[in-house]
């Protein structure tokens, strides 16, 4: 059967675009959720056009072969891993930026375009595409749409979902649909565009994306705030928001995080506070000055240790570069990290942070709290010095408590990474049985054979 599959796929789209050597299959087993191998694909397919994809999914539907779309494989929920085998559809070669429309403030690009390249092209035109997952140097637009990726700029600008106006999607039956369009206002029936957004490849394969753009902010400024305690930093965050200031980025970093990030920061931060806020404000210069002043007042009010406006652009860039490298940096120092994505309403951050510290103490496992505090997306990270059965147990116990606590505070189990396999066990708690039933009926209507990325989002995901 497997030889037959390779032969059939090669016949469909040419032998150079199909890989079946075991080394290639191994390379496509996992995403960025640590190296552990979750499931092996039977074939890798590298399509160039929606028509290629149409042929592949039609074939897969007919023969009930799982199809897992994949961008950069930088996901943090295991969502692009082929846990049921089948075909991994690597979209990265579909990477043309088709149109940047200054007159309409929109752009059209293929799903395999790497986000950083998209940013660069758009910014060359003095335009701005805000979503900024910290993996932007590698992650793809298709992956971003499928996970509703966001980043530090979420606090002011929202996440990917807020910028998607239309999509080209290949459905599991091979049909190619064009949802939404280039109009910034659309009110036509069910919103298929946003049904596909965040679907993690379980409903179809996204091949083109139409995005909204903004004018590029005229200026920006970085402010670093050093706090005595974690709690003080958490209070400063909710006070900044309560004061009606909306920074373009508002990141919360623990002492441990700063110690690691200092390897990339020049000159390094004197790390004598327990928590730090990295803040960026953007807009017109006058407005920035005003915002900086107000942030200063708020922080002085909570009596933080130090507030510093970074004037040097290079220095500011080194802070943000270090911030984006935090996750892999942490891994250079512990054996395994589980980055949680629980998000809470911003006024509940102080309580959330306190609870995490308690959970860490009671389970005896280190939990880092550094994250996009400005939008409540705190990324508590379970840090494992070694990987043993006992450690894994403790980690799972801690995660369950973190999730329960987040939900109790009115939060959500995922702010931006999506559900994949790692968060699937918690989705029922957040959505309730009736909504999961709805999920399943939607899935059945669009993908009756259940070939698209089976086993994801909810635990019995493949049995539609």
């Amino acid at each position: 059967m497997k030889n037959g599959l390779a032969r059939d796929l090669k016949k469909q789209i040419g032998k150079d675009n199909v890989k079946t050597d075991s080394e290639d299959l191994l390379a496509y087993c996992s995403d960025a959720t640590h190296q552990s191998i979750k499931g092996k694909p039977d074939a890798i397919v590298l399509p160039l056009t929606p028509q290629d994809i149409s042929k592949i999914v039609s074939y897969a539907s007919k023969h009930q072969v799982p199809v897992v779309p994949r961008g950069a494989g930088s996901g943090l929920s295991g969502s692009s891993t082929p846990i049921k085998g089948g075909i991994v559809l690597d979209i990265k070669r579909m990477n043309r930026i088709i149109d940047i429309n200054k007159g309409n403030l929109t752009a059209i690009a293929e799903a395999g375009v790497v986000l950083a390249r998209f940013h660069k092209q758009v910014e060359k035109e003095n335009l701005f595409y805000p979503p900024d997952p910290q993996s932007m140097s590698v992650c793809t637009l298709g992956g971003n749409v499928s996970t509703r990726a966001g980043g530090p700029r979420g606090v002011k600008y929202g996440t990917t979902g807020n910028y998607i106006l239309g999509l080209e999607v290949v459905l599991p039956d091979g049909s190619i649909i064009h949802t939404g369009g280039s109009c910034v206002k659309q009110s036509v029936g069910y919103d298929i565009t946003h049904l596909m957004t965040g679907a993690e490849g379980t409903l179809g394969v996204i091949t083109k994306v139409t995005t909204r753009l903004l004018p590029l902010p005229a200026a920006k400024k970085t402010i670093i705030v050093k706090c005595r305690t974690t709690e003080q930093a958490a209070i400063a965050v909710s006070d900044i928001i309560a004061a009606g200031i909306i920074p373009s980025m508002l990141e919360f970093l623990s002492l441990g995080a700063i110690a690691l990030m200092n390897t990339l920061i020049s000159p390094p931060i004197v790390a004598d506070g327990e928590a730090y806020l990295f803040i960026e404000i953007d807009g017109f210069p006058v407005q920035i000055e005003e915002d900086a002043k107000r942030i200063k007042y708020v922080c002085e009010d909570v009596d933080v240790m130090e507030i510093r406006v970074v004037e040097d652009k290079k220095e500011a860039a080194s802070y943000w570069k270090a911030r984006s490298s935090l996750y892999p940096l942490v891994l250079s120092f512990v054996k395994k990290v589980i980055v949680e994505d629980v998000t809470v309403p911003r006024n509940r951050i102080p309580e959330f942070v306190k609870s995490i510290e308690k959970i860490s103490a009671s389970t005896g496992i280190a939990i880092g709290v550094s994250g996009h505090a400005g939008d409540g997306n705190m990324h508590p990270s379970v840090l494992m010095g070694d990987v043993s059965e006992e450690m894994e147990k403790k980690a799972q116990d801690a995660i369950r408590q973190i999730v329960a606590c987040g939900l109790e505070l009115g939060g959500s189990i995922s702010g931006e990474h999506g559900i994949g396999i790692h968060k699937a066990e918690f989705i029922l708690q957040e959505m309730g049985a009736r909504q999961i039933e709805l999920f399943k009926s939607i899935k059945k209507a669009i993908d009756p054979e259940g070939i698209m990325n089976p086993g994801k989002i909810w635990i019995d995901g493949d049995s539609v």
Binding site: D21, E23, L26, A27, A32, R93, C139, S325, P328, V337
Partner: protein, 403 residues
């Protein structure tokens, strides 16, 4: 470290974050994840360390299809030394016998003679047999650098420092103009130069082959000689020689080696000649040259900010010379030492991109401090544009006659 098994813990540091996808020139050509550092590491671990995967031709291909450009290492937040791991994997796979016997013999001869072997000159057929395209190779010069200069040279102006000059093989045999420029410019700027006798190749060609034993032999010969110099610095003109003498020697010659102490002393003294001049400053009259140039950053220069920016900083002293930035995301030119002889189409595609980006600029001259990049990019342009070493441009700015 030589044994691949010793790298297990370092491989385990890879978080699979995928950041290496943003920089790996090989991956960027075909966008196949098998060819990016995180997958190379996984496959090396599975096949050569844990033996879960047989050592197939594909495994070898994955280990070989790497430029050893270290871009991934520079981008890796966990600091995984991917290039060292690939070298150790090649050592494990081939025990120094990656290339056919006659090619190895020739390489050995060339390395011992610091590139002076006239194998190429005598027998183009030999080169062809080695898979080398004569059009991509530089001409061996009748007079090598070591024919031109030997011994110690007093400065032409007030003495400010004494350096030992490690002229690389390529400078010696193919680009004596680089050496000539280094000698003349240093001398005019008050630097006494000594050329230690008996030096051999830095060892990088052997390392690339995974022939760690030969590389180590070369390193030991050089370290023994260089550790005896009373010079303040040991300057290099080539980024790969710099990297090998400064860093790789300390990876290969570990604490258990009797010569380790010397290796450390030498490593401390190793300085790139342009960084050295930037640090000490030019004392000679200001050079001037009407020239529009761009700078191709060799991959091996990207690991250190100082090394990377030194040429442009130095040339900013040249009046009337106009520097134009190359907007190509710092792409690799495809040379990768001798990589281009093995993967012609792959390297060719990288070079095409590089040449296209250069053509987009107003530059008529391209400077780069790596002889391999220099040769390969020059071949991409033919006589259309001039690729040269930054020191040669500076020397021309002084109005010096350079061979």
């Amino acid at each position: 470290m030589m044994d691949i098994v010793d790298y297990k813990d370092l491989i385990d540091k890879c978080s699979h974050c995928a950041f290496c996808e943003a920089v790996c020139p090989v991956f960027k050509e075909d966008l196949l994840e098998t060819h990016v550092a995180r997958s190379r590491l996984l496959i090396i671990k599975e096949s050569l360390i844990d033996h879960h995967l047989p050592v197939t031709r594909r495994v070898k291909e994955i280990v070989n299809r790497c430029l050893l450009c270290a871009q991934c290492k520079n981008a890796c937040p966990a600091g995984v030394p991917v290039d060292d791991i690939v070298i150790a994997a090649r050592y494990n796979l081939y025990q120094g016998k990656r290339s056919p016997f006659f090619k190895r013999q020739i390489m050995k001869h060339i390395m011992a003679q610091r590139g002076k072997s006239d194998f190429f000159r005598r027998a183009g057929a030999f080169a062809t047999k080695m898979g080398l395209d004569m059009a991509d190779l530089p001409q061996i010069k009748r007079q090598s650098f070591s024919d031109m200069y030997q011994g110690t040279y007093a400065p032409k102006s007030k003495r400010r420092a004494k350096v030992a000059y490690f002229a690389g093989c390529a400078t010696n045999a193919f680009y004596p103009d680089t050496g000539d420029a280094v000698m003349k410019v240093l001398s005019r700027n008050g630097v006494e130069i000594t050329l230690p006798e008996g030096l051999v190749c830095c060892g990088i060609p052997a390392l690339s082959e995974g022939d760690i034993e030969t590389a180590k032999e070369m390193m030991k010969i050089n370290i023994n000689i260089l550790s005896k110099t009373d010079a303040d610095y040991i300057v290099t003109d080539c980024t790969s020689c710099f990297m090998t003498l400064k860093e790789k020697s300390l990876t290969i010659i570990d604490g258990s080696d009797a010569i380790r102490q010397h290796a450390e002393t030498v490593s401390l003294k190793i300085t790139d000649v342009m960084s050295f001049l930037n640090q000490t400053g030019l004392t000679d009259d200001f050079p001037a040259l009407k020239e529009t140039y761009t700078y191709h950053i060799p991959c091996h220069a990207r690991g250190m900010a100082d090394l990377m920016t030194a040429p442009v900083k130095l040339l900013s002293n040249v009046d009337q010379a106009r520097y134009v930035i190359l907007d190509d995301d710092n792409g690799c030119c495809g040379a990768g030492g001798m990589f281009f002889t093995e993967y012609k189409a792959l390297s060719g595609a990288m070079r095409d991109k590089k040449c296209r980006a250069i053509r987009q600029t107003a530059a008529t001259t391209i400077v780069t401090q790596c002889p391999s990049c220099r040769t390969y990019i020059q071949a991409g342009f033919g006589n259309d544009k001039k690729v040269t070493h930054p020191m040669v441009l500076l020397a021309r700015g002084y109005g010096l006659y350079i061979v």
